[in-house]
Symmetry: C2
Subunit: 415 residues, 2 copies
């Protein structure tokens, strides 16, 4: 397996204190899915009436738990979420489907809820059968020990080669009442010798119907989890679930059943912030990442074109290695703009690093101060902006640099 | 600049002996475009009547020489080709266009041919103005010293951080006569601190009209230069030109003016072989490459889907680092199939490394011999095959592994 990595230099300096979300309880345990010496299973229990929404990998070869969750979302109700690390239960054929069913059955029995209200996620090696009976030995203790706090333990239990647990929380006003949103994520870590997976679970006490939650979540991921990239690779298992217990209704929060409800404005803002915070934490824990890069594209023909160009830059190995080398290499940025396939006019292009314009109107900006840009490139966080000068389309994405450590983490595990 | 790299371990063991192509003469010189101690300019001269065809980068931000060549192709005639290394004349705005015009004028005057029959290519740093007057000092000597051999010198003069010159030749029957095709290429090398560019120039004495040449070339690149990838990045300067002097007509070769002419069958075969050989040599000199990987996708819905899936595998950093780590990591192959966006059914997928099936029907193949696969992964050249089990679409592409040396070459030049 990969050597234990030190904590990413981009990790947050402190972890947020996350108070309980009424109606949610957590427990973690050691099921020994793959490793003996760590927590590897997390159970979240929800009060009856909890609503759920989700978005998943676009992979055409999704894992068995992704298939399970997708088809269980229709009902919009959740009573439990079981997540394990150590085994992704992906590319496991019939045995994978059976493991999913067995896990759901086990949780449902222990919790006293229908199987269809049980959600599942797995991360870790793929192609290896997941032995669901391992959960059997820990399930009763998980259910009885579940408690409203323990966010950090929950976030740690779902880590693979993440170097730090990822947590975020915000408060929002819903009607006259404060509601709370909190979430955990695991990111672009790798369980050798297999693939990275992004999992995130977000919880709120706001009383919002599943359909509305789904609309909010699908919109909010566009600017957060769907605007980050570490290495352009897409896991078979990416899962983001949003659970709303509705407990704040007792405190006077209005029951929301329309996505157009104006009372949602502040909740939307808070949800966006939690998802963006978690998504950025995932990037900052990108394998081998030493620099966090924000890429803004303005002046594109439209927003979709802007996003494709931004992702083309963010996924370019030549741009990413230049940033690792602390070089404001705008030539490679031009290359990445050009290969995106969207309208671009070389002679209208302008490029900034950290606010300093280095190129405009088809050539190097004669006025830029190399020493100043050189200082900017030494920072941990680098803002790169491109203006295409064509239209009003804008987009922003986040990525990290590409270092030798990335290759070591993903290629050296045999040696 | 990047440290001088040792020759790629994947380099051919010997260089082919390339006899003259009647109607083509070469000269190389030291114009001092960027470095003082190397040949950096190559001039090829063609007898009157030479036909030309070309394909170029799909970048929306092409270099000035690419713009020049594209618009000169219409006439279909060529008398000279000037190529320099050291400066790509890309993203150089108006100055770039003027440098191109000045270069063409200089060559035209020295050769005694119209400017529109002069073709140009540049590779090297981008964003720096190209000083065309540097060619002035060497032009007369280039023209007077041009001779029919000197292939290897020509291939060397256009290198950037290529670790070896790339040459290939084949003989074809056209009617009752033997004709010859020979070509040179430069590949995914990098002139620090800027971007890689692929240039290739192919020459033949076959008497083939420019329109027909264009049809042949456009078709042949699909299975060769458009089926290779080193790092998924597309240069602003990629240029492939095919020149046909027609000299073989004197020896009895038929003049070909229709692409459907049956006499072309063997020429097509030979052209495909030369382009594929050059394209594979480019991959084998991929930055930091230690392994050459052939990826075959069968059983896709159609050929286009097969190619997209094959390129998704070939461009996946996780697949490429696994191969660098000598790991037959079929899980990452599944991931790359899944993210390609084409139809795929996990439960029908089969994957082979070096002819050994490691996965089928949605799971690990229980019968495969790990020791055997482990031996296969130690080889310099690795064949990876995926069968989707859905249709009859097939494609084959070539790539290399992703090593720490790639990151060092592209990110370390500042240190």
């Amino acid at each position: 397996m990969a050597k234990a990595a030190p904590v990413s230099p981009l990790a947050p300096k402190t972890y947020p204190e996350i108070p309980p979300i009424e109606g949610v309880r957590f427990a973690v345990g050691q099921a020994g899915v793959r490793y003996a010496d760590r927590t590897d299973v997390m159970l979240a229990l929800f009060d009856p009436g909890t609503q759920v929404a989700g978005v998943f990998t676009r992979s055409k070869c999704p894992s068995a738990p992704v298939d399970w969750c997708r088809s269980r979302l229709e009902g919009g109700k959740a009573r439990a979420l079981l997540v394990n690390s150590g085994n992704a239960n992906a590319f496991t054929g019939k045995a994978g489907k059976e493991a999913v069913k067995a896990s759901a059955k086990l949780v449902a029995a222990a919790v006293g809820a229908p199987e269809k209200h049980v959600f599942l996620a797995s991360t870790g090696v793929i192609g290896e059968p997941l032995d669901a009976s391992k959960f059997d030995g820990v399930m009763d203790r998980l259910v009885t020990s579940a408690r409203p706090d323990g966010w950090r333990e929950a976030a740690s239990a779902i880590m693979t080669t993440d170097t730090y647990p990822k947590l975020s929380t915000r408060v929002a006003r819903l009607g006259e009442v404060e509601v709370r949103i909190a979430g955990i994520a695991k990111g672009a870590g790798m369980i050798a010798p297999d693939m990275a997976t992004m999992l995130s679970f977000v919880f709120t006490d706001a009383p919002i119907a599943a359909e509305v939650l789904q609309t909010l979540l699908s919109r909010s991921v566009r600017g957060s989890f769907n605007s980050i990239t570490v290495d352009s690779d897409t896991s078979t298992s990416d899962t983001l679930l949003l659970f709303a217990t509705g407990a704040a209704e007792k405190r006077g929060a209005p029951w929301i059943e329309k996505a157009s409800d104006r009372a949602l404005a502040d909740f939307r803002r808070a949800l966006d912030e939690v998802l963006l915070d978690l998504a950025q934490q995932v990037v900052k824990d990108g394998e081998g990442a030493r620099k966090f890069v924000e890429i803004t594209v303005d002046g594109a023909e439209n927003a979709a074109a802007a996003k494709r160009i931004a992702l083309s830059i963010a996924n370019s190995p030549l741009v990413k290695t230049a940033i690792a080398g602390e070089d404001a290499n705008w030539g490679r940025v031009v290359m990445a703009v050009g290969k995106a396939g969207e309208a671009a006019d070389r002679d209208k292009l302008a490029i900034w690093f950290g606010g300093v314009r280095v190129a405009h109107k088809g050539q190097r900006d004669p006025d830029y101060d190399e020493a100043q840009v050189s200082e900017i490139m030494k920072r941990d966080e680098i803002a790169l902006r491109v203006d295409l000068g064509l239209g009003k389309g804008s987009a922003r994405v986040w990525t990290c640099d590409l270092t030798k450590e990335y290759v070591a983490i993903n290629g050296d595990y045999r040696s």
